[in-house]
Symmetry: C2
Subunit: 420 residues, 2 copies
C-alpha cells in the first residue's frame, strides 16, 4: 500500500537531477529540479514533476476546494488540519457523500495502510498517518490499518528479502504508526499475513469481479509477472468493505469507508469502486494527498537505502541539522546579492515546503514565505526554522515511540470490536 517515500522510489528510474549545493544556492531552480521528463504516477513509480491538476483530471477525482474544507470544519466543529487547509490533501472521491451521511448521524470507518519495505520510516511515511489521526479525532470514528507485507514480498526484486522479513518490518512500522497517537479503542492494525484468512471471502468475491485485462490496464502487469501480483489488488481492496472485518464490525456490517492515502494509491481504489458497483457494495470514499518531496527536491526519490535522501524518524537532532543544511534543495539564489535582489522561490525550497507539512503556525509560514520571496529571509534562515520544527517533531515522535511496548502493539493488532 502506501509507498516507500510517499513519493517516487523503488523501481523508479528517476535520477537525482537537482542537487542543492551546500549553503543552498544554485541556478536553474525555476523548473523545480525537474526537466521535461515524463511524469509517471503508479503505486510503484512516481517520477517527474507532478502536475496535480492534470492528475485530478486524468484520474477523474475531484479537487478539494475552500467550500469543502469549510464544510468539514462545520461538520466536525474542529479547525481543518494544516495538511487539509494547505492543500496537501487536495483531491477526493465521494467525500461529500460521507459528510452527508455523517450529518444525518451515520458513522463511517477509516482505512489506510502501509507497505512495510523498510524498518526505518522517514517523514513522508508519517503524512497519511498524521492526517488520519486528525480524521479519527475530528469525526470520532474507527480505523483499520493494513500492513501489506505480502505485497512487498511479491513485488520486491531483492532475492535476499524473505517473507518473514516483511512481516517483521510491518510490526516495527506498526509501532511507529501507533506513536502517531491513534486511539487504541478505535484502531485495528493488521498484517495481511495474519489477517487475509478473515478477509478471504471478500477477497475472492472481489477477485471474481475483476479480470486480468482490467488489472493489466490499471497497473501495467505483464505475463511474466508472478501470479501473486495479479491477485493482490483484491487484497488491498478488501478492507474498503466493513464486512471484511466480521470480528471488528460484524459479519453483516456495511459501514461506509473513507480512505486517506497518497494519490498514487488511487488506481487500487478506482478498481475497488468498480468492483463494489458490481458486487452491490458501498463504494469507498477517498481523500488524496500530494507527494512528500525528497530532500533533494522534486523528481528525486527518498530511499531507505540512501540515508541522505530523507529525514528518518530515528534521526538525531544533529543528523537532522546536517541533512537539512547539506542536502535540502534550496529555492535561494546563486549569490547573496542576487537573493536580496530577486528573492527566493518558496515553491521549490525544500526547507520551506517541509515547514508547510509540519509547522502548525500559519502566521509563521506566511511570514517566512513573504520574507523569502522579498529576499529578506535567506536560505540559511529558512533552513534554521525548518530544522527547529523537524527536530522538535522527530524528538516528540521518538519519545512516544519509546513508550510503545510489545503489549501495546499486541492490543492494536488483536482483532476485536472497535468503539464507534
Amino acid at each position: 500500500m502506501e509507498k516507500e517515500g510517499n513519493s517516487g522510489n523503488e523501481g523508479t528510474k528517476s535520477e537525482t537531477s537537482a542537487m542543492s549545493v551546500e549553503g543552498g544556492v544554485r541556478t536553474d531552480v525555476e523548473n523545480g529540479g525537474g526537466g521535461g521528463e515524463e511524469v509517471v504516477v503508479t503505486p510503484w513509480t512516481v517520477s517527474g514533476v507532478v502536475d496535480y491538476d492534470k492528475l485530478v483530471k486524468d484520474f477523474g477525482s475531484k479537487r478539494i476546494d475552500q467550500d469543502l474544507v469549510e464544510r468539514i470544519e462545520r461538520v466536525t466543529g474542529k479547525p481543518a488540519h494544516p495538511l487539509l487547509r494547505r492543500g496537501v490533501f487536495f483531491s477526493h472521491r465521494d467525500l461529500g457523500f460521507i459528510l452527508d451521511l455523517y450529518e444525518k448521524g451515520k458513522k463511517f470507518f477509516l482505512y489506510t495502510g502501509r507497505g512495510p519495505s523498510s524498518r526505518a520510516l522517514h517523514l513522508g511515511h508519517l503524512i497519511p498517518f498524521m492526517f488520519t489521526k486528525y480524521l479519527q479525532e475530528a469525526f470520532n470514528v474507527p480505523l483499520v490499518i493494513q500492513l501489506t507485507d505480502d505485497e512487498k514480498f511479491l513485488f520486491t526484486q531483492d532475492p535476499k528479502k524473505k517473507l518473514e522479513d516483511f512481516y517483521q518490518m510491518g510490526k516495527d512500522n506498526a509501532k511507529d504508526i501507533i506513536a502517531c497517537g491513534f486511539d487504541p479503542e478505535k484502531t485495528f492494525i493488521f498484517s495481511d499475513l495474519d489477517y487475509v484468512g478473515t478477509m478471504w471471502k471478500n477477497i475472492v468475491k472481489i477477485q471474481k469481479a475483476v479480470t486480468y485485462n482490467q488489472v493489466k490496464g490499471i497497473f501495467g502487469f505483464t505475463d511474466s509477472d508472478n501470479i501473486g501480483k495479479h491477485g493482490f489488488p483484491a487484497v488491498q481492496a478488501a478492507p474498503s468493505f466493513s464486512s471484511s472485518f466480521p470480528d471488528i464490525f460484524g459479519e453483516k456490517s456495511d459501514l461506509p469507508c473513507l480512505i486517506p492515502c497518497a494519490i498514487d494509491q488511487d488506481p487500487y481504489f478506482r478498481m475497488t469502486r468498480d468492483a463494489a458497483h458490481r458486487l452491490k457494495l458501498k463504494k469507498p470514499a477517498l481523500i488524496h494527498s500530494k507527494f512528500f518531496p525528497a530532500l533533494q527536491g522534486d523528481n528525486t526519490k527518498m530511499s531507505a537505502s540512501d540515508e541522505n535522501s530523507a529525514i528518518f524518524i530515528t534521526d538525531t537532532p544533529a543528523q537532522i541539522k546536517k541533512k537539512v543544511n547539506k542536502y535540502a534543495f534550496s529555492g535561494g539564489r546563486a549569490t547573496l546579492e542576487e537573493h536580496r535582489e530577486l528573492g527566493g522561490i518558496v515553491e521549490v525550497d525544500i526547507a520551506y515546503r517541509y515547514l508547510t507539512f509540519f509547522c502548525d503556525d500559519d502566521e509563521l509560514i506566511e511570514k517566512l514565505a513573504d520574507g523569502y520571496r522579498k529576499g529578506e529571509i535567506l536560505s540559511g534562515e529558512m533552513k534554521l526554522e525548518c530544522i527547529k520544527v523537524l527536530q522538535d517533531m522527530v524528538k516528540q515522535h521518538q519519545v512516544r515511540r519509546a513508550e510503545v511496548t510489545d503489549e501495546t502493539l499486541k492490543k492494536f493488532m488483536t482483532p476485536r470490536a472497535l468503539e464507534r
Copy 2:
C-alpha cells in the same frame, strides 16, 4: 480440486454420443461410445476416450507396475486395494521415494481434496476417498482434505451461485467424506474459506515462484479470466507442504507428502513440484487414478444436474436398479443370438466396469468377465450383479453417513495436532 464426476464435466462440451438402449444392446460399441473426438484432459475438462498410456507419456508420470504393487504390499504388510491391483490407480510420481523413506521409518502425510460443486456426490466422487482411506490405514499416516469452495466459486459460470453456497456444499460433502471411514485422530478436513489464512505464507511464496506465463501454459487461462483464477493454483498447491499446517504438523515441519487424485489434477501438482524445487521444499509424490465412467459410457459426463447420468450416493435401491438397467451402457450384442455367438465386450460394459471399481471379490469379477466374453453371461445378468454390489455399498454408505453428526464434522474440521 477433485472434479465433478472424477471424469469429464462442467464446462466440457462433450455430448452424450453413446446412449445405451433399454436391455443393454446396441451396435458400434467397439470404440467405447467415443468417436474420434479430440481427447482433452485438464482439471476442468475431460472429454474423449482417454488413452492412459499416452497420458502418462504426455504428463511425464510413471506407470504403476506389478513390482510396485507388490512392493506396497510388502512395505505395508497388507494386501493391495482392489483399485490398485486392478490398475484404477495406475500412474505415479516419486511413489518409490515415499516408500524408500517409509521403509527407513520416516512417515509422510496424505493430501487429497474435493471441489464442492454439488450437494449430492455420485459414485465417482468416492473413488479417491475410498482409496485414500486404504492408504491411511495401510500406512497409518495423517491425512489432510481440502475443500476448494473458493475455486468452485471463482470458476463457476452460474451467476446465481453464491460463495456461501459452495461453502455449505463443502460442509455437506465433508460429511460424506467422513462416512468413507477416515480416522478422526489422523484426519483434518478444511474449507479454503476457513483455512486459507493459515496457509497464506506458503501460498504467497508459491505465487511468487510461478508466473502468469506458466499458469497460462499449464491451465489455459486467458486475459479475460478473473484474477482469482490466476492465483488459485497456489491455493491448491499449498497443502502439499506440511509447513502450511503449523497447527497440525508444526511450523517447521517438512513431512513428505503423497497425493492420491484423479489424473486430471496432475497439472496442479506438476506446477507445485516445479515451485517446490525453486522454494527448496520437498516435492509432493502423487498416485493417479483413471476416470470413473458415467452410466452412459466413456465420452459422456456425470453431472449432478442430470440424475440419470450417475448413481448418486443418496439413491434408493429402486433408483439404482432402474438406472443400471435403463441407462448403463452395455457391452452386450444386438441380439441374444449374436451375444451367445460373439460374446460381450467387458471393456465398455458399464455394469462390469462398475463392478471392477466396487466389488472386492476377484474370483467373481474374473468369472463374470470370462462368462461375458464367451456369451454365457448376458447383459441383464451382468447388470444384476452390478446392482447388488452398488445397492449394498450405497446402503452401507448411507448408514454410515446418517451417523455423521454436526459434532463429528466439527471435530474433523477443527485444526489440531494429528496423530502420526
